[in-house]
């Protein structure tokens, strides 16, 4: 069983379970991973990102503690890493007010350097606003200097991104909001296949401090272990001063990447 945190009573009713721990080696430390709104923002395999962070923490010799934060929950203390996913438009409406009420907490954490991964819907809401096709504006929490405009065009398909930090990143996009970056953020990379943030500038995702924001599902982290390990290393270094990696076996990830890269758009 996942260790439960007393601050998150709703954790019991949601969430997949981690496989049982089988390592007898002493833990190098505990990392608290918070899933943001898994109840309403969990479409397209967002659990995969949380699972990969938790399992790779184990494979590196650390103990993951998986927490969940849903609408109305108390916000857990001492969070080391945050992961948030996409949702349907209806899911975004459900979390909207709650997310705005957590704006200062999340901003503080972001500026303190807490590593975060936000995908698709939460990427958009971490930005300044989402303006729908019909012109109504959903405010975001403005951690990322990005803005998103709803369109009639759905950007769908396999994506390959080349990133200066992480090498090639493989994933799958499915969104109709188009995002443009302001001067306060860097793109995660440029698209070699697929569309990315919008249909004009060939950029995908955003980087700000230790936040990685992206449109890519797939799920993103399983086939991109370099990204997963960046988030893990950052979380561990912030908490324990240094990170001693383990030796995860990434041979399936390598092969899955090779085959995915050859698939049609």
């Amino acid at each position: 069983m996942t260790p439960r945190s007393p601050e998150t009573p709703h954790e019991l009713s949601f969430g997949h379970e981690l496989p049982p721990e089988d390592s007898a080696a002493p833990s190098k430390g505990t990392i608290r991973v918070l899933q943001l709104y898994p109840r309403d923002m969990n479409i397209y395999g967002d659990w995969g990102n949380a699972l990969v962070l938790a399992q790779r923490l184990r494979w590196h010799g650390y103990t993951p503690e998986l927490l969940e934060y849903n609408v109305g929950d108390p916000f857990p203390a001492d969070v080391d890493l945050i992961v948030g996913g996409g949702g349907q438009d209806s899911g975004q409406l459900v979390i909207q007010d709650d997310l705005l009420s957590r704006e200062s907490t999340l901003k503080q954490m972001a500026d303190d350097g807490t590593p975060m991964l936000v995908i698709c819907g939460l990427y958009q809401l971490f930005g300044k606003f989402f303006k729908t096709r019909l012109g109504s504006v959903l405010p975001g929490i403005g951690i990322l200097d990005v803005e998103t405009h709803g369109t009639d065009e759905r950007l769908i398909g396999n994506v390959t991104v080349s990133s200066p930090e992480f090498g090639s990143i493989l994933g799958y996009e499915n969104h109709s909001g188009q995002t443009t970056l302001g001067p306060g953020v860097e793109p995660l990379g440029t698209t070699a296949k697929g569309t990315g943030n919008n249909s004009t500038d060939g950029q995908e995702g955003a980087r700000y401090r230790n936040i990685v924001a992206s449109y890519l599902h797939g799920s993103l982290l399983p086939k991109n272990p370099a990204l997963a390990d960046f988030l893990i290393r950052t979380a561990v270094e912030r908490k324990y001063g240094s990170f001693t990696p383990g030796t995860p076996d990434d041979s399936y990830a390598v092969l899955a990447r090779e085959h995915a890269a050859r698939r049609p758009r």
Binding site: S13, G45, S90, R154, N158, N174, P222, E258
Partner: protein
């Protein structure tokens, strides 16, 4: 023009068959030269048209409805070849009408893909519609689940007689509130079975966790009360009946409740009474449709094919067909018909395969599946993206155990093609 369209369409159909072509061309021809052909022909049916749509289980459910209605002595026209789009219906009609364009049937029962059903009902308002579910399936095609629900809502709004809805799927049940014309009937599940049917909203609920208190649910015409090893209990007309079932898998049997609801509605509309015993006998004899949990025999051992198309279906498949005692293969393709996005594999938990592991993985995305299993600590035998050698190795191995293959749609077609070389497999044209 009108008088020539049917003979010409039939002629094109015959020629395109001779040339080994698909079913779309003759449909296209008749649609072009006689756009009213389909509506005109179907409007002559005394009991009208019934449309079956939804994400999961359309093919098996349509087959059940057809067999149930045939047990009532009705002549049923259906699009049996799996052409579940408008042009396919027109082509199937061409095969059935006589040279003067007359269709000898009492009722049409048509399986239609959600998006194509919308085009169809705009041309031919159905008397009945049966809406099964809205699940996360090929979202890369429809965009969003809520969008799919809107497509089903449109089908319901065009229905002139009776709309049959899944009471347990919130997005489908909600359609009732938007209707004021047609009668609404529901099919439903016993409370004790609700937890075996995760919908995408509570997909993440931990196994065994209590079902959240649901709002009061409307009364259902047919309720599935219990599922046994080879039988099931259905409740309708205030009584519970037990019937043997050849169908396997709870989700197929829930769709039997759907089929019963629709068939009772159609048969009841004749006003000559319904042969209740005949309905149940027919239901007990329904065999799974092509690839939907069917059982073959290979080298004297059972081999089951379980089609998995989306996270809910895969979860149900794993739950319905326990792994113990079986050798297991998983075949994942990412062709258009399978859906290109692999994200869905991460919404399925594979812990039930942890004890025995998976013997063989195959398909264009075999390594995505391997990666998924690695993160659930499930042991993997061999991986080969090529289906033919993987299947051969799987059949050779397995230590005399019965075998089970979970496969996506196009992987299933490839597996059946290979199997047909070594055993007898029903071939669907």
């Amino acid at each position: 023009m009108l008088y020539f369209s049917v003979p010409l369409g039939k002629f094109v159909r015959r020629v395109s068959r001779l040339r080994g072509g698909g079913s779309a061309l003759p449909g296209l021809v008749v649609e072009k030269i006689d756009p009213d052909f389909m509506r005109r022909t179907l409007s002559t049916l005394p009991l009208g048209v019934a449309v079956v749509s939804g994400t999961n289980g359309k093919t098996t459910t349509t087959k059940m409805v057809v067999e149930l209605l045939e047990s009532q002595g009705l002549k049923v026209f259906t699009n049996r070849t799996g052409s579940n789009f408008t042009r396919g219906v027109a082509a199937a009609l061409l095969g059935e009408v006589d040279w003067r364009g007359r269709l000898d049937a009492d009722v049409a029962v048509l399986e239609l893909d959600e998006a194509h059903a919308v085009h169809f009902v705009n041309k031919v308002p159905p008397r009945y519609s049966l809406l099964l579910n809205v699940l996360r399936d090929q979202l890369d095609r429809f965009g969003e689940i809520d969008k799919t629900a809107e497509l089903l809502q449109h089908i319901a709004s065009r229905t002139t007689g009776t709309v049959v809805l899944n009471r347990e799927d919130p997005r489908v049940a909600r359609i009732a509130q938007t209707l004021d014309g047609p009668e609404v009937l529901y099919f439903g599940l016993d409370d004790s079975l609700l937890s075996t049917f995760p919908n995408d909203d509570d997909m993440r609920a931990a196994p065994g966790s209590p079902v959240p208190a649901a709002p009061a649910r409307p009364a259902a015409d047919v309720v599935l009360r219990r599922v046994g090893a080879d039988d099931a209990d259905f409740e309708y007309d205030g009584a519970t009946v037990t019937t043997g079932m050849k169908l396997r898998g709870v989700y197929n049997i829930f769709n039997a409740a759907a089929a019963l609801t629709l068939a009772r509605g159609v048969a009841g509309a004749r006003g000559t009474g319904t042969d209740q015993a005949g309905l149940l006998t027919a239901l007990s004899k329904v065999a799974p449709a092509f690839g939907r949990g069917e059982s073959l025999v290979v080298d004297g051992l059972p081999l089951e094919l379980v089609l998995v198309k989306n996270p809910s279906g895969f979860r149900l498949g794993l739950k319905s067909f326990p792994a113990a005692g079986y050798a297991t293969m998983i075949a994942i393709n990412d062709n258009y018909a399978d859906g290109r996005d692999m994200s869905w594999l991460w919404d399925v938990e594979f812990d039930t395969l942890r004890d025995g592991g998976v013997d063989q993985l195959t398909g264009s995305r075999a390594y995505d599946m391997a990666l998924r299993l690695q993160y659930d600590d499930v042991a993997i035998g061999a991986v080969d993206t090529e289906i033919a050698p993987a299947l051969a190795a799987f059949i050779r191995g397995g230590e005399g155990k019965p075998k089970r293959i979970f496969c996506t749609y196009t992987a299933m077609l490839a597996i059946r093609r290979e199997l047909s070389k070594i055993t007898t497999v029903e071939v669907v044209s």
